[in-house]
Symmetry: C2
Subunit: 419 residues, 2 copies
Amino acid sequence: MSMLEQMGKAAKQASWQLAVLSTAKKNQVLSVMADMLEANSEVILQANEQDMAQARATGMTEALLDRLLLTPARLAAIANDVRQVCRLNDPVGHVLDGSLLDSGLKLERRRVPLGVIGVIYEARPNVTIDVASLCLKTGNAVILRGGKETHNTNLATVKVIQQALEQCGLPAAAVQAIDSPDRALVNELLRLDRYVDMLIPRGGAGLHKLCREQSTIPVITGGIGVCHTYVDDSVDFDKALTVIESAKIQRPSACNSLETLLVNRNIAEQFLPALSAKMAAAGVTLHAAQNAMPLLQNGPATVVDVAEGDYDDEWLSLDLNVLVVDDIDQAIDHIRTHGTNHSDAILTRSLSSAEHFVRAVDSSAVYVNASTRFTDGGQFGLGAEVAVSTQKLHARGPMGLDALTTYKWIGYGDDLVRS
Amino acid sequence: MSMLEQMGKAAKQASWQLAVLSTAKKNQVLSVMADMLEANSEVILQANEQDMAQARATGMTEALLDRLLLTPARLAAIANDVRQVCRLNDPVGHVLDGSLLDSGLKLERRRVPLGVIGVIYEARPNVTIDVASLCLKTGNAVILRGGKETHNTNLATVKVIQQALEQCGLPAAAVQAIDSPDRALVNELLRLDRYVDMLIPRGGAGLHKLCREQSTIPVITGGIGVCHTYVDDSVDFDKALTVIESAKIQRPSACNSLETLLVNRNIAEQFLPALSAKMAAAGVTLHAAQNAMPLLQNGPATVVDVAEGDYDDEWLSLDLNVLVVDDIDQAIDHIRTHGTNHSDAILTRSLSSAEHFVRAVDSSAVYVNASTRFTDGGQFGLGAEVAVSTQKLHARGPMGLDALTTYKWIGYGDDLVRS
């Protein structure tokens, strides 16, 4: 039995214990875990120092180094996030629906944990603790595979989490990290369907493609957002520009940021110069389609031709594609062709246009007169977010605690047989 | 663009039209479809004749031939099933939940079709019409790949369905069948993730494994049931034996039939001889574990030693494994090791045993004092069944119309930005 199979088997066994824990017990574990993360901060910060030193030696950019860095204050904030998870409702045990059937069978659907969850993620040390706490709260065991840049930090963190588990009388195998940066282990993890019930890759398009193609475990893909906003011909320019500016510049690196603006032809002549002024002030470079260029090139904003592929990739920067469309249906067609089913918005005063857009655009989140930036577990009131799914099975959009559960049909009879 | 890519693209385009149809319109299509299946029964029955002739020539068994055979009466019954689907509630458009968030965003989750569904199935001509009608009712397009034995029947059936679609002003591509028995096309279908949103394989373990390993499309696997019943030490023997007999003999070829009986040691000495008498009368062969053999071999039933692998495969016949267990936990362990997460039952008078079993056994359907045979869309009141899922993501157990939908988050603002 390989190391990963052993981990899988141990995780599955741990999951059976976790599945039947009371909410109070799970909250106790989370609380002990938060305390021990603070009490053992020195060990974790030392491990993080090692990762930081290696990252500096390999020439990691300042932005990525900052993402990797743990400080006493950051660790305390993460520990507080764990305490926050205690306050969330536990979905496990909730009865979704039920009925007494004509046959005499009393049937109910009850929420239960998924079992074992595999998570593959990049170099963010906070994800280790985030994911572990959300999985524990929902009674799931988890196998973590973090980025190699945070290898030492993750191992030190998981060790503390395991100590907390054992102190509460629970198996350490409830939270395990793959303790080798060997890439072949990712491929092995992807085929561990005997033990792992769901796989969440949190990373770029390449990781998602690998998982879709190689995994024999059901995968949740998402997190890639080529988000659109369509400006209908009945809008208040100032308000529309405020929404567009916020959707683009608030946090350009986020997957729910605006990447392509589609403007109705009827207002293009007035709207595009106003857009140019607003975007120039915000430091946004416009990537103009041929039909938008004449109306943009005399404005103050930096404008370049849109290039092959620009419509199909996230900018994640202060760049925005601009295209003029004949009508709402051309906008919808563009979104269907180039979108990633993440978040798309319409700005309009027309009820009919709004409802047409909402029904026709097949994205996880569709907005009317709102920024695409709202697609977020916290904003949606889910209390937490494991990932943002852009696929259609199981969970769509921001995934909260519910998305870490499934249901079980339970039938009660009085020595009942089917007629 | 390959033939399958063209089919996929056409299906996706059709799905956009289907997604926004009213329930009344969808019911009209189904009603026209039912009428036309009857009106064109001659063409379909002739095609079925061809399939039957080929099947006879290749020496197909009488049981399989009967499954393949269509008669005027059977076709009329299938057409009536389609009319029945009209009467089911349309889940599309249903608002699952919603709220007005502190940010001012009015958020709701609305049920929407999945889009394009791929179904791979065996030689049952009724599945073609069943699946097509359920997909249409939920606004999904479908690509069908039936068994090669029903090739002519399926093509003739789908042609009639497409005529019905066009007569109602809808694209024929809403229901398509792969019109070549070439097996390579299955592999191509499995990688059509650009167009197909969900794949349902309805067949044996081999097909499910192929789909899990090769598909880049999310797959719903299921339909394989190694179902257990645990007989606790507090049961009414007569009633327990009635449930066991029914679960085993009512329809042995069904996936929800009983395959392994686990008997508590405390009652084994009295219960097993009684079981032997009941099973002998029902013509069931017992496959006894070493610890059950001494108590069974003097009874009237045919008894053989349980063999390697017997616990892990479906019998689908009048055969039953019998094992004595020390207690409920050993029964649960056995089910965890050998079960397929389909349907498992406990027979007991103890509330505490019942609840322990229900919580610990991780199957799609868990029963207390009832036959495992209840796991069925019709029995569960779903009105229809697309498949029985034994995986945990998206849908579990019998999949009704809801399982052919997903949801969309819709956010309404008044030119709202995230703060």
